[in-house]
Symmetry: C2
Subunit: 340 residues, 2 copies
């Protein structure tokens, strides 16, 4: 990406092993994330360009000499943060705070919207898929890089259970998979706030019991109507813009939890006496330690119990990537899969 | 209180039963709360005056005809919110959000800094002390009205356990009892941030392992030094002023919890990408459902396992109440007990 709206596919040298803990992965599937739309809107003109993409699955092509858990030819899933897997944060399943890890597209580590990627700390970062590559499962496996794990993180941190009612704010891929995860945690009442019918229809398929298309005060009133005036025990906020936070405050029940996984596009926000304190509301969430959830969620994907890959409604090759960004930005596509 | 700094003791008619669910309690002990200092600073001139006090223990003198669990002569503890004990919020131990309850000194319900108090919803609100009145135990029993339950709430919501390190911000009565509670939950490393040596000495007696007298960036650096650079898993914020929130952000470990029980004196605050989101920090807390904790904490008080009443370092009669406010405001007294 060379600036807002300026997406180009260029030829670069093939990545090579730089550290003995690296792997080179040939990308079989990657995708465009809702969060990629932020630089698509506001990246300053960048003459050298910026690599993109933090979600990919592929085949191990080369390995540094210190990598012990992978073999060439393994089909692997890469989470959206790379991590050593051994530090205290990783052992606590907070790989996004790994002491030696980092994020794609920064500090000399390029992104997943490419034919091949150098993966640092490959033993800690990559998860091998038993059974190898399966084209039918590829979209669902790819969601384990980020959006499924992120929806799951929202529900987990929110404390969703069979005893909690849930509101999900946002009908993007993360919001829809937060619905799926909330259902997996046993929630029986799941209100999905979103205004794109094709998307909320998929949300209903994933387990939403109610859909509220209205936003702002009108949307809040609607959710309160649906919940005897109280709001829901848990709110999963999968947007990141300030009005979504305000909406979360409006629909959360006293004693409840707001769990944010949409990357906040604001800094200051009300957290004082009337909003969070008096009603004992908990605010939680953050970037998902997707790495921690891949092994946990993989069996359900492999045996077909869940099909999170349904969030992909368009597939492009490299020639179609720029238009894929446009289509997601225009809300014409929900999530775009890239097959190199 | 008739305005900032204007505390008067006046004669008023004795309270009488108004509702069949009321009780009249003759106050044996009440006290001044750190939160009473907020109106002491900023109450506008109020010609009719405002009753004060939300912490008291005493003897039941009269009962409405619908009260079934109490008898005249019972020695009882009143929590700082009154509640029906039967609604869904009460059953979930969130009595501060009771559907029919409320707070003292509002809506025709007067406060505990008095000789007698009309207690609404007495069955739900009051807890009878087995064994009746015991002068030696009175200070500790009185802390169950608020400050001990509030410190306990901070630790409970913060998820304190034997596996978590803890920072307590504030050396007032709530902060010191948050230390005591954190110790009860098994925390082995408890850093107390406070700059009044007589108070932090009591904090050490209650279980603090380290005392940091510095504030702001210097205090943050000190706590980070003590914790290998990371901060602590849990931060119990028992002040309520904005700098205390900033301090909490500075000393909390990634993946950790900030649990607030100091009533926030600010509304907007940073909760964006860098502060709470990226490190997956949880923000929780609120007014303690003290009612829920009285029965839980009472045995330890009765058998002498804990002595939270040590936070009282001055006792006054009604003639001394105005000076008691002054002494607490001047940090000359930690917490003032009132014996009518």
């Amino acid at each position: 990406m060379y600036g807002a709206g300026d997406v180009r596919v260029i030829d670069v040298p093939d990545p090579v092993i730089q550290q003995p803990t690296d792997a080179i992965v040939r990308v079989v599937g990657s995708c465009i994330c809702g969060s990629d739309l932020h630089p698509y809107h506001n990246l300053p003109v960048t003459p050298g360009g910026k690599t993109m993409g933090h979600e990919f699955v592929g085949v191990v092509e080369d390995l540094g000499r210190d990598v012990t858990t992978l073999r060439e030819g393994d089909f692997v899933i890469a989470p959206f943060a790379w991590s050593d897997g051994t530090c205290d944060f990783c052992r606590e399943d907070l790989q996004t705070s790994c002491r030696h890890g980092g994020f794609w597209n920064a500090n000399g580590v390029d992104g997943g919207q490419a034919e091949a990627v150098r993966v640092p700390l490959a033993d800690g970062t990559l998860v091998k898929v038993p059974g190898g590559e399966d084209p039918a499962l590829l979209p669902s496996l790819l969601t384990l890089s980020d959006v499924y794990g992120t929806g799951y993180h929202a529900a987990l941190k929110g404390g969703v259970s069979a005893k909690t009612s849930v509101t999900v704010i946002g009908d993007g891929a993360v919001g829809l998979l937060a619905v799926l995860a909330a259902r997996q945690f046993g929630a029986e009442r799941i209100v999905l706030m979103g205004r794109h019918k094709d998307r909320t229809d998929l949300g209903v398929e994933f387990g939403a019991t109610d859909v509220v298309a209205e936003r702002g005060d009108e949307g809040i009133a609607k959710v309160r109507d649906l919940t005897g005036g109280d709001g829901t025990h848990v709110v999963l906020e999968a947007v990141g813009h300030f009005p979504a936070y305000e909406q979360a405050l409006g629909v959360v029940r006293p004693g409840g939890v707001i769990s944010r996984v949409g990357v906040p596009q604001y800094d200051e926000a009300p957290i004082g006496f009337g909003t969070l304190f008096l009603p004992n509301i908990t605010l939680t969430g953050g970037p998902a330690p997707a790495r921690a959830y891949i092994e946990r969620l993989l069996p359900g994907v492999l045996d077909g119990a869940v099909a999170p890959g349904k969030v992909f409604d368009r597939t492009v090759d490299f020639d179609g990537v720029a238009d894929g960004y446009r289509a997601m930005d225009d809300r014409e596509a929900l999530k775009v899969l890239i097959r190199p």
